[in-house]
Symmetry: C2
Subunit: 185 residues, 2 copies
Amino acid sequence: MSKGHTTKEQIIWKAYQLFRERGYYNTSMADIGQACGLLKGSIYHHFASKEVLMEEVLKAVYNSFKQQVFDVAFQAMGTPKERLEKMMQAIEQTYFQEQGGCIMGQTGAHVPSNPAAFTSIIQQFFSAWKQAFAHVFTPQYGIEDSQRLAWQAIQEIEGAVTLYCIFFDKSFFISTRQRIEGMLA
Amino acid sequence: MSKGHTTKEQIIWKAYQLFRERGYYNTSMADIGQACGLLKGSIYHHFASKEVLMEEVLKAVYNSFKQQVFDVAFQAMGTPKERLEKMMQAIEQTYFQEQGGCIMGQTGAHVPSNPAAFTSIIQQFFSAWKQAFAHVFTPQYGIEDSQRLAWQAIQEIEGAVTLYCIFFDKSFFISTRQRIEGMLA
DNA sequence: AAAACTAGCAAACAAATGTTTGGTAAAATT
DNA sequence: AATTTTACCAAACATTTGTTTGCTAGTTTT
């Protein structure tokens, strides 16, 4: 590192917060620069374009979720229910320790006008999430029903996060979490 | 009417389609004008600003939903289940006959950076929706449980619409609809 | 110590943004 | 028929947008 010590990871994190809270198109490079204590032009030393920056943000969110949520489902230790609870705990933290909803769901809602690279990552994100949920459901519900239940759980969580943004009320997620955890005995 | 016959309602409808498919900030006045066969400046003869136009779009969506969905819940005729099915049918049509997700949920996801007028309409929309669902659930589940079930249904539907946008797959909504209709005997 | 590299600033860039202005021709009103 | 109103165009407006360029000073490598 030289003069300043703004790392790529720091820019990605700040950009993530802004994109998530205000949306991709309502966040300018100047906004991101300001949040990092940089001029907007300086960001281009780290990222080729705003679009590439967004891609890296989405990838980082995917990896973070994979590590803290998806991978837990496939751990050897603990009962499926315990692993599910651990996953739900991590999900809750992710959505409520910072402001804004689900950047994947929000960005995904505008697929036809989005760069294809965004869509690809978003699809992978939700597919991986479904597989993780389905895996902890399978011992009790079998493969087929678990797929269905996994999508159902994701849908409810996405809805809960949306309503949280609108009404500033965590309770949608709280009861959703209880319902999902209650699916395993 | 004089020369051309572009009505306010036509502009609202075109703007609705664009806002819904691409988001508020990713839709320009030039885009809306083009969709109406107008120059962007001409829209200001009908609406004071882009923000006011969006407000009218949200109000129009609210009114349309109220007429075709919410009001059905309180009709005198038919069993609660029949009315619920009628509501779900109208919801399905709304979301799948045109492209894009739920403009209320999408816009609501960015509340902190949105004009307060947007948030107000969006909150009213979801509150009215909850009350309508709860009303058809009440005979079977009682007042308290019906509230919970109503929010749960809305969450699932919002999630289903989001996933539909991402995977171009209606089946999320189809099974959600069956689940919700199955809640009433 | 010299050379090469890095991170950032300052300024400029063309293009796109939402909005305003002045005019025109058709329609509605008188 | 004269007047006013309506819907729209054409052009300009100031800002903001994402991006590029040239330069500087610190850091790393040699």
